[in-house]
């Protein structure tokens, strides 16, 4: 039967050995792998400032990044790819305006530069080799998205601030599913209606979840023209 001395030896030898292996692998990870996997050459001053802002405001206290955080708000690893810089920039000014009546986010009043830093950080994080995380959804198993490509939409150039729309609406099968799909929207509404709708959604349909987007007059005209052509 095992004696107390043997038990102690098992504990001491096992611990020392596996701790040694762990330190060696940690060393190898830090020295030989992390720079390559994280593209550390792309870590500009902006990215680093962005990370500090991310920490100083405890963004991880609601969101997750690289899967780590608090599960209360969306995963941000691929947010740059998913939303695009324009959308993030507009969103951070007034998060609740973008998702009225939904789960709330603190309004941080970031300056233009701070927002740029955060966006640079998100872009850099999105490019890290995370061994396949986050997994690609298995869309085939959930084939509810009917893909309808309208003639013109497929070929025509998207308006410059399109990412603000596509975060919630889909077109030709790609985009968000918060608002209705925009395929054929030109058949339903004319340019005047669309202009009024985009300028101030609440005046057209009080209580709607559609936010008032901060578009310049030129950008709005470009959008209206594009949408009214979706037939």
């Amino acid at each position: 039967m095992l004696s107390k001395n043997q038990a102690r030896t098992f504990f001491v030898v096992g611990t020392v050995f596996f701790t040694g292996v762990f330190f060696y692998l940690s060393y190898d990870t830090v020295v030989n792998h992390v720079d390559k996997q994280t593209n550390s050459q792309n870590m500009s001053a902006e990215v680093v400032r962005g990370k500090r802002l991310f920490d100083e405001n405890n963004c991880m206290g609601c969101h997750t990044i690289m899967g780590e955080g608090a599960y209360y708000a969306p995963e941000l690893t691929k947010v740059y790819e998913r939303r695009g810089p324009d959308w993030i920039d507009v969103f951070m000014d007034d998060p609740e305006a973008m998702f009225p009546g939904e789960r709330k986010m603190v309004k941080y009043n970031f300056t233009k530069e701070e927002k740029a830093d955060l966006i640079a950080f998100f872009k850099w994080v999105g490019e890290i080799d995370l061994n396949g995380f986050p997994p690609e959804p298995d869309k085939g198993a959930f084939a509810s998205t009917v893909i309808t490509t309208t003639g013109s939409a497929a070929v025509e150039e998207k308006p410059s601030k399109w990412s603000l729309c596509s975060a919630c609406h889909s077109l030709g099968g790609s985009g968000g599913n918060v608002g209705p799909a925009l395929d054929g929207v030109g058949n339903k509404f004319d340019a005047d209606y669309l202009r009024k709708w985009i300028s101030d959604p609440q005046s057209v349909k009080p209580g709607t979840a559609m936010p008032k987007l901060p578009l310049s007059d030129a950008e709005r005209e470009e959008m209206v023209e594009f949408l009214s052509k979706l037939k």
């Binding site: 611990t15 190898d28 100083e56 599960y71 209360y72 603190v106 995370l130 959804p137 959930f142």
Partner: protein
């Protein structure tokens, strides 16, 4: 109780009760946020509630460990505590630092790194504080009349826990490195050195409560902590799968972390076997309930529920979802919260001289809190699994998924109410014990020693 100075642990335990209450309040705030009742958002946004909830957990558990050490180490060393005054100074300063940190969270003052949110200037104060505590404990032991394995394992656990706080205080610009070394603290605490503390306290409780020969208990203590480090150290790899670290961690983390339940299984078997070996029953039934409950629940919560999502193939989908929160709740409850409640239940009758060993309130406290926590864990599990399928498998939008799973948080809140009622009863008993005016006796608590002699 054998030594007058053991009485300081009463104040540590009282602090535990206060912080635990506050932790539960913040848990409720988060639960209500999740079902859309977020009226406190402007004053206590979710990230403040979350940081407060988890940091209070860590602080009250550490306070409990410190209280346990102040009770156990004099007895295991055969002398009074090195300095009672130092112990009070240390406790008061710990509370001050903790309260400052928590108030700071509400004013956006933090480091924003999961579990290590305490801002840097306060980190230094924490280090100073813990050094004071360790000095007091180690000096007590150093000049002690005897050096027992139980005492040494407990002190080693506390010492390494303090050392492992340091990697969390290095600044990294790279998110991956930041995360990599953050887990040095968080993982190697809860799945490493805290288990030494757990083993030490459990061994002490079992020696006292079962009367089984110390040599036998301490032999198994070595086996258990040996298994802990055998699996737990390289098991850290399960945090390195998807954070930008190399691929070999998938294999290493997978293999070693699937072995992690072994240590908890050994702990559970050990506790139950020692209990069975006991010649006769110790009168302190409540302490026995919490001690055996801790050993069993930690195996389920920390061991099995951890293993459920630790393999990289599974973790790819569950990483960063409520499945983690599910495991977290029952693991911390079973392994560490119940452990602190066990040592409190054991020592309070001796500290206060009031023998509350087996009353209704105490039994209801045990069952309500445990069933409540089980219910909360199941609610989180259902929510987490639904989230994995809807969001990760089918690609539904995050907020749309959260709407779908809202109902499970209603269930969680109901179970949390049950849990909180249990804790309320536990605290009612704690208050009933009264102040630390217990008799110091020459022989201490030697319920079994006379039987042996």
């Amino acid at each position: 109780m054998k030594y007058e100075s053991q009485k300081v642990s009463f104040w540590f335990f009282a602090t535990c009760m206060l912080l635990l209450t506050l932790q539960i309040v913040y848990g409720f705030i988060m639960g209500f946020d999740r079902i859309g009742l977020d009226v406190l958002h402007d004053w206590i946004p979710f990230n403040a509630a979350r940081a407060t909830h988890t940091n209070l957990l860590v602080v009250w558990l550490l306070t409990g460990f410190m209280g346990a050490a102040h009770y156990i180490i004099p007895e295991e060393s055969g002398r009074e505590l090195f300095s009672v005054k130092l112990a009070y100074i240390q406790l008061i300063s710990l509370i001050l630092v903790g309260v400052t940190a928590i108030i700071g969270f509400h004013f956006n003052w933090w480091e924003g790194r999961k579990f290590l949110e305490i801002p840097r200037p306060l980190d230094y104060l924490v280090v100073l504080n813990v050094l004071t505590f360790l000095a007091n404990i180690i000096l007590t032991m150093w000049n002690g009349k005897k050096h027992t394995t139980t005492g040494i394992v407990l002190v080693m656990g506390l010492l390494f826990a303090a050392l492992l706080y340091l990697p969390g205080m290095i600044w990294f610009d790279n998110q991956t490195l930041d995360s990599f070394f953050r887990w040095y603290v968080v993982h190697l605490w809860v799945e490493g050195v805290w288990e030494l503390i757990m083993g030490g306290i459990l061994a002490f409780l079992l020696i006292k409560l079962t009367g089984v020969d110390r040599e036998v208990i301490e032999k198994w203590l070595y086996v258990i902590v040996g298994l802990t480090f055998l699996s737990g150290v390289l098991g850290t790899g399960h945090h390195y799968y998807y954070i930008g670290a190399p691929k070999y961690w998938l294999m290493i983390g997978g293999i070693f972390s699937i072995l992690e339940p072994l240590a908890f299984l050994a702990m559970a078997l050990f506790a139950i076997n020692m209990y069975r070996k006991a010649g006769r029953e110790h009168p302190n039934k409540l302490a026995l309930y919490w001690t055996l409950g801790c050993a069993l629940t930690s195996f389920v919560g920390a061991g099995l529920l951890g293993a459920a999502h630790t393999l990289p193939q599974v973790n790819m989908y569950t990483h960063g979802t409520l499945v983690t929160a599910m495991h977290g709740h029952m693991a911390f409850w079973g392994a560490y919260a119940m452990l602190v409640l066990a040592i409190i239940s054991y020592s309070m009758p001796l500290l206060t001289g009031r023998k509350i060993y087996n009353n209704k309130v105490g039994l209801y406290a045990f069952w309500l809190s445990n069933i409540g926590m089980l219910g909360m864990t199941v609610a989180l599990a259902v929510a987490g699994i639904a989230q994995v399928y809807l969001e990760r498998k089918y690609g539904m939008d995050f907020l749309a998924v959260q709407k779908e799973i809202e109902i499970h948080f209603v269930v969680m809140l109901i179970c949390a109410t049950m849990f909180a009622t249990g804790i309320g009863l536990y605290i009612a008993n704690f208050i009933k014990y009264g102040g630390p005016v217990g008799q110091v006796t020459e022989e201490g608590d030697n319920y079994f020693e006379e039987a042996v002699a």
